[in-house]
Amino acid sequence: MSPVTKKRRTDPENASASEVSSDAGSVNATSDEEMEVEDEVAEGSSGESVHEEEVEEEEPEEKEIDGGSSANPKKRKQNNPRNVGDVTSEQEKTQAVTDMYEYKSNIFRMETEELLKEVRLKYQKRMAPAEKVLHMLKSIIEAFPKRLDIPIEEAKKGIRRFGINIPFPDPGPTKDVMYKFSYAKPSYINIVGDYALNTGIKQSEGFSIDLVLTMPSEIFQEKDYLNHRYFHKRAYYLASLAVGIQKSKDLSVKLAFIYLNDDLLRPILVVSPSGDGSDLDFTASKCTIRLIPAIDKDTFVTRKLLPTQNCVRPTQTEGDAENAMGDAERGVEKATKLDPTPSYNSSLLADTTYFPHLSQLHAASESCTSFKDACILGRVWLRQRGLGGDISKGGFGHFEWAILIAFLLKGGGSKGHPIVSPGYSNYQMFKAMVQFLATRDLVANPLIFNAGEEVRIKDSKLPVLFDGSNGLNVLFKMTPWSYKLLKHEATVTAKLLNDTASDNFDSIFLNRADEPYSRFDSIALIQIPAELGSATGNLDSVDHTLYPQKLHDVLAKGLGDRVSLIHLSLSPPVQPRFKCSRGAKPAGGKRCITAGFLLDANQCSRAVDHGPPAEYKKEAAEYRKFWGPKADLRRFKDGSILESVIWTDKDSKLSIFNQIIQYIVSRHVTGAEDITFFGDEFTRLLPKSQVIGSQITSPFQPAMSGFDTLVKDLRDLEGLPLQVRQISAAASSLRYSTVQIPLAAANGTALMEPADVVVQFESSMKWPENLVAVQKTKIAFLLKMAELLEKGAGKRNTHTRIGLENENHPTMNAAFLDVIYLTGPAFRVRIYHEKERTLLEKLLKGGLLSPRAKDETSQALNEHCRQFIYGPLHTQDFQKLCHRFPALSPTTRLVKKWFHSHLLSPHISEELMELVTLRCFINPSPWAIPSSVMTGFLRTILFLSQWDWRVEPLIVDMSTGDLTTSDVEKITEKFGALRKSDPALNRLVLFAASNHDQEGTIWTKNGPAKVVAARMTSLARSAWESVKNGGMTMDIGSIFAPSLKDYDFVIHLNRSFTAAGIRNKKQQSVFKNLQKPEVITGQDIAKLAFDPVAMFLSELSVRLLLLFHHALFSVLFR
């Protein structure tokens, strides 16, 4: 029966379905239940609600009937007796699909299955040589001779004889240590990890097989957990293993030490294929074998290794040796007074937990069929976000993900109820996990199993998932910032999962989101000294969390609400040497911390930081101490007297934000003087304005206020035959998106390029019905307006003139009115007559036109819609959005500059550029909304490089939610139809729809052609590549350098004939003292908007290049 098999294919996790496959009806019922659960996961904002609703799940039958499928039971009754037949199977299929869609399960589910199929590792394939090596290793290791109780010097010598370094952790054993080192056959050898669980994924770097060797407890002493003794013995054991394997003649492999998950206390041995082509060469298996020494759980007392305990006593060799000696002797009772060493303890305990965790995960995968798939999904998700189990990657990897699911299957909700139920599908489980990570704050509200509150450390900023049976905080490798990042990513993803309107599968699983340049709004590279541990003097040995911790605290305090997230990443530590060499330690050099910031765009360039009022003595003193000489006592407008810090970006190349970082880091963090910032360069590429203001849109203020004046003047006109109904702006300079700032000087020395304005009069029956006559009537209106404006010009210096356009197209708009204020602003007013559209459409529909006239008319219609209907709407919305997203305006300007500098602007309309930029703000997934020019620009470039415009429409909702799901569907349908009718993309190449223009063609009808669009994509691709590869050292300007080598010919224009050149002529006075004060003259007005280049271009394209209109041609200014 086809429906059943289909059902099972799409939901293989549906265990019950397979048992009742003969009864189609019950298959549906079970799948319904499942959907319900999923639905509730979607709605439940916290773990508790999910659970509660899950309890109600007991009566699914009724629900289903309520759900609107009342015909269902009947049908089922009919079906059961004679369960074959085309009609019924067709019905069943319909029913199954209906059910699936009714509960929002859709394409996402299919995609998930597809992804799992592709990504799942097939272990049987090509694993034979690796298996053989594993067996070989086992027998080799078991054959090693015992070596017991060797003193330190002898042990070192014994290993060094074979040229192998003992990877002692820092601090290593001193020469006079009393304890002895031993090697004995491991008590167990076993495979753990994803190889044992079958949860590995295909990835470029291959996978690893974890072989755990349990060191026998007789080689340890009771007190070995103290002062790194265990780790020293472990290092010796590891080195002995290495020696043994190297010595053996049967097996030739490559060996190396690495730190397990960047944990400096726990080196492990990595066996990789030799690549010699023998039958033991397991290169084809694409894996490495990791030998991990472990200990039995009862080797040490778990209680003494709880996170609250101290296990590293102060050293006895320094100046305070005398007092310390006594402390160390007295042992544990003294330990309570010392600072706890949670990361040391956890590192040690983690060596005991390989088997317990394996069995826990195994049990979970036994009890819950979709557990493994959920693990794989989580793994892919984490990897795409650059998160991993290594400390340098955040300390939350697939293992932590899996163990967290295993715990959540048991509990974690309110009153200890489980958050995830074993009946969940992989998708539901993934969703529940993401939801949990996003909403539960594991720092303030830790998850503790099998233990009481006493295991918490006071004021700890670390997340806690405490596994009481092993005494271990599973998340011990995480840092406060990596946890915040994880939470941030989970929040973003949870939002995507709950958004049912669009298919977000790509941004959740398929797109990489770990590139720092597009992920963070601002990046700082901070050089730090290589040796950190000694500087901090802390007993807990994981030094690479302490120094960044300080840095993080300082940054967080200094930046305050300017940032929403600070993430630090320390480059991974230098791996331990395998060979022992005579030379000194490998030169540490400098290490780097890469700090990434997510900014609050409204706050990050604030000039004043307010501190506490002066009368709060203590706080004020603290504030002064933090800010040093920068802090000042100031009286503010509202009368308050506050401690404050003032910033300005006038004299510095750095933005305010980066100045603060520079200042506080060099003031408070030792050894971190050299800071490189990345992000400001992008802002600096934009032309600066002389207008200063707090708002990001303030450079455009003169033009905007000029527009307000115009509106007022036009509304005040008396004596027009019709009243003005609406005056709307329709120019990029009036929506904050021109590259050059209009009226940059704002002092009345230069005129602005006329900005398009559309005036609509109240409707009247007196307009002629003839299109040509309409145009003439418009001219008459303009003449009248001009006359009235000049008459009332006494108060203002207003100049008007009427210009003609579209001379050869009598049905198009024929004239415009230039209103020029002598203070600088200039506008180009056109009259919108709403009937024109109907007239044009009527003409087109009438079918009485010659093909040529038809072409002309449809062009006129398109032009009319663009100029009078969508242009003003677009401008209005874009203006609003520029206020909503502060980074939008500068980003758009930079994106436009990019298009201009690559000579693409004659082909690609400004509105399209704006829509493309806007898309990255409206739909920023998989990231947060960009808050800086860098992120906005780079993500736009990334989008352009990935946009497959042949099959993907660009849909941007410029309003908040005006575009419904059905609208989007309609647009997609239109797009599909368009592509079907024109598969070669001759008529329309790019498809860009918005909530206004749902046809998607208004901004792209006149271009770009296919070659231009392809060039755009390839240019974006290479720009993105160069950013990715160049990183922090690259010169951003190189992205903006045009390449001319692909053109067949290039026309270089003399600069003095360009619009800018002509306007500049008058400033060429040689003698400075002869220069007149600059004012706007009649000549300036006469030459306003005179652009010979544009005329030249239009002549070229219309007259000459008609045959070559698919040719790519552009003009370069030199």
Partner: protein, 318 residues
């Protein structure tokens, strides 16, 4: 540039006239080919016998250019030149003034002259466009054809320069691009030099004085009103029988032909009001079935989409 083969002197019934683009600049010399034959339009007109049809007219051609060309090669005199498309370019309603009216209002006559406000002082042709050359009489057109034929046949290879002989008194306005030498496409890159005055003139012409504009608008409006009134009168006349009791039949009876979609829209509107959609059981069943079908279609579509994506190997992100 590789050496091009010698061009034929005749293609079908077109005569080929090579024109050297004289180069005052340092650019490479280039040749433009003009194709000529007798004018034989599908719908014959009175002037056909004394006309020649030209294809691939240079972009900067003006009437003066062609006149001088034929006089320089010893052809006949060109009376006028009708460039491509100019014949039919009459989209603007033709202003027909009643003779009676014209006498009455003199000022409308002067206004009519100002109707056309030109913004370009000289038009450009499209590349590869055509023109009809009307000669003064049939013989001069014959002579011209012969002259062209002789020119191409003669061994001497007399070189004809385009636009060279343009006499001073026939001053054509300069172009934005000084086109003394060039007009063939591949030359543009090489010889184009800016001649801004051409564009400046255009820029200035684009902004005519308000008085002039007012005049032209007034004239148009006047004519337009006249025509509307005339149409109205004609319509009125249609209804009124003359003294003999006959009604004169005049063109253009109906306002516009009724359109199908309009009728459909009206019918749709009516239908929507009258019917109940969920009254009968079968209606509900149908609606439901339809929805199921839609979902099924969507399912199939999604499946296809996923398969497509799979085909593009998108599901291998790592």
């Amino acid at each position: 540039m590789s050496k091009l083969p010698e061009p034929p002197s005749k293609i079908n019934d077109y005569l080929v006239l090579p024109l050297k683009l004289s180069s005052s600049d340092t650019a490479l010399p280039a040749t433009h080919y003009l194709y000529l034959r007798r004018h034989q339009p599908k719908l014959p007109t009175a002037n056909d016998t004394r006309s020649l049809f030209a294809v691939n007219v240079p972009v900067d051609a003006t009437e003066w250019h062609l006149r001088d060309l034929f006089s320089s090669i010893g052809g006949g005199r060109v009376e006028r030149v009708i460039f491509d498309g100019e014949g039919e370019k009459q989209v603007v309603p033709v202003v027909r003034l009643d003779s009676r009216k014209r006498k009455r209002s003199d000022e409308s006559d002067t206004a009519k002259e100002a109707v056309e406000v030109k913004t370009w002082d000289r038009d450009l042709r499209q590349s590869g466009s055509t023109a009809v050359l009307v000669f003064v009489d049939k013989s001069s057109s014959e002579v011209s054809l012969k002259a062209v034929a002789n020119l191409t046949k003669s061994k001497k290879k007399t070189v004809v320069f385009w636009g060279e002989g343009l006499s001073e008194e026939h001053k054509v306005p300069p172009l934005g691009i000084s086109r003394v030498t060039s007009n063939s496409f591949y030359q543009i890159a090489l010889v184009l030099t800016f001649y801004v005055p051409g564009y400046l003139t255009h820029h200035n012409l684009r902004f005519p004085t308000k008085a002039l504009l007012q005049q032209s608008v007034d004239a148009f409006m006047f004519a337009f009103a006249e025509q509307e009134a005339e149409d109205l009168r004609a319509r009125a006349r249609r209804r009124e029988p003359d003294e003999d009791g006959f009604i004169t039949v005049i063109r253009g009876g109906r306002v516009a032909p009724a359109r199908q979609e309009e009728a459909a829209a009206v019918a749709e509107k009516k239908k929507g009001k009258a019917e109940h959609k969920d009254f009968y059981r079968f209606q509900m069943r149908e609606v439901k079935k339809e929805r199921h079908q839609q979902l099924l279609a969507k399912f199939e579509q999604d499946k296809r989409k996923v398969a497509e994506k799979k085909g593009m190997r998108k599901f291998r992100p790592l």
